[in-house]
Assembly symmetry: C2
Homo-oligomer: 346 residues x 2
């Protein structure tokens, strides 16, 4: 990136107020308007000079000859990276978040929905929360029920009170008694351990299988293997999509359609969100930066959330590139922390 170059204090301040102004009222901002800024004691003409420089660097551009300037993606990028002054949350807003997340929440999935809804309500944009990865969650109970032929319905409960179920195809048909026995074995050996640990153990046991003789145990481990094979996160909770219909930058029906299709495909969005799992804190995709054309006119503000100091998921806000980053960023940040706390096993 051709970062700071010889951008002096003044040009940066000008860019900052320009972006702020544009975010505020959505109109291209011209030199006359900017000259009225009290801190910026310059005539429109001088401002035009500076603007010409900024335009040359690709930070702003004018939609047509006689319009003001509008930030480009790089302009926004520079703005959020180094110019932004984030507003701390108002205490009333913080209250709202606290309350919204700490209500009597029976199940993890309910807390996620609440968080998503909260994000969208409070920002008036769309909120999204990925389902937590199940790695560090521990197994409470597992059970097998026969279906037709070689299909087996497996149900297992984790200590976050979530009930998972899955259908596996076994290599041969088992009797209910055999399945019961397998479940008993797995419950005695694996329950109380994290799914990650269980996967490790399965591999070890399968290696030892060669030497062992107890067919029941081998079958049980095989079934466990089918049950606990890692499956990537592929779901999320989305709220307030309809909020996005109010924004003029998304009033183009074709764009909107693509965006909503992306939402229901889920794959692309998940992939995008997964990229934020590693990030330390808040991460932002502005416009085309995301690489998904459906999001070309949107920005995504995300933060990973953790349970027991382990990152398990990502949440975020989706809105038009022209959004009040200085307010959204702390919102997302705090919500991620509160969600992590709310999910912590009591």
């Amino acid at each position: 990136m051709a970062g700071g170059q010889d951008l002096n204090e003044r040009s940066l301040y000008l860019l900052k107020t320009l972006v702020e102004r544009y975010i505020q009222d959505g109109q291209p901002v011209g030199s006359r308007l900017l000259s009225k800024d009290p801190q910026l004691k310059l005539s429109p003409a001088s401002i035009r000079n500076v603007m010409a420089d900024l335009e040359e660097m690709g930070l702003i551009h004018s939609p047509h000859t006689s319009a003001g300037r509008v930030p480009t993606v790089s302009g926004y990028r520079l703005f959020v990276d180094s110019l932004l002054t984030v507003k701390p949350l108002a205490s009333s807003e913080l209250d709202q978040l606290q309350h919204g997340l700490t209500g009597e929440a029976d199940k993890a999935s309910e807390v996620l929905s609440k968080a998503s809804k909260l994000l969208s309500d409070v920002t008036r944009m769309a909120g999204v929360v990925t389902l937590p990865r199940r790695e560090s969650v521990t197994l409470r109970h597992i059970e097998f029920l026969p279906m037709s032929n070689t299909r087996v319905l497996v149900i297992f409960v984790t200590d976050d009170q979530e009930v998972h179920n899955k259908i596996i195809h076994t290599h041969k048909q088992f009797s209910p008694a055999e399945l019961q026995q397998a479940a008993n074995y797995l419950n005695s050996v694996y329950s109380g351990r994290s799914l990650a640990k269980i996967r490790d153990l399965i591999i070890k046991e399968m290696e030892q299988d060669q030497r062992q003789v107890n067919q029941g145990m081998i079958d049980a481990v095989n079934m466990a293997q089918l049950t606990f094979t890692e499956q990537p996160n592929d779901d999320y909770v989305l709220s307030g999509e309809t909020n996005l219909m109010g924004f003029s930058e998304l009033s183009d029906m074709e764009r909107l359609k693509q965006l909503f299709e992306a939402f229901s495909q889920k794959r692309g969005v998940i992939h995008l969100l997964d990229q934020c799992l590693q990030a330390e804190g808040v991460q932002i995709f502005i416009g085309e930066e995301s690489g998904y054309s459906a999001f070309d006119h949107c920005s995504l503000v995300t933060a990973p959330y953790s349970v027991n100091d382990e990152v398990v998921g990502v949440l975020g806000v989706i809105g038009p590139t022209r959004m009040a980053y200085e307010k959204v960023i702390p919102f997302v940040d705090v919500t991620a922390k509160l969600l992590g706390a709310a999910l912590n096993p009591k």
Copy 2:
């Protein structure tokens, strides 16, 4: 309704072709165009007379002085009720439906999603399927797991291979062993019976409780009662919402927003669909007939679907009032039957 009045054959035929024509190309249709219809050997002027009559009866109206005529809601209503000639499905389309629904479907919920997607794909509008009522489905297995204090996680599996779970609040704290015992009791008494039957039995047993002494059984029945209290259907599977964004009659952003908000609220839609549960076959809501302002410019074509000759749910298609009813109706009809068949326990 001021139904047929003195509508003669000719006016009805005229209305029919007018509606068909309007559905076909979305333009207000004028007298000149209609006069070209081979069956209607009339001059434009005469047609205008007939049209004036139809307008007086509120069956058509013209958007402005020098435009053609457009059907009103009552016009559409008369059309679908008595004038429509439904097209039987093309065999290729029937194949598509057959295939789409009979693929290897492990769980009931997957079949529902498929049906919904099929409806939307094939009509290029939105498809919706309510979750089946669980009345006649039979219980396979039930299990209780303790949570904190008096909360108990109950898991039960029905013979459609669906795993249900719910958290109930008991009046006192139970030990794991007590819960196990309760589950054993319930499994022995209730499994293999339909949920409806189980509810009956629970009531009977609770009446007898007074005289009985075994506290464990009383507890078990109490928990069963908490688990199986009837809860109204409140969910559905919706597909192809984005298809609706292509229609000019829904291009107004405010309308579209309201419609999509209704979709995510779910309540209103469910209530509307519930009204179709009693209907014999295909039922249609045209425009404002539904009574929900969000659907003012939409029509809803629904049909109930049955398992074991018992109506368990409703499916349908949502699209603009100007839709090809003669094709949609048989689609919905057949899909409902196929879905019922696909859900039948093998």
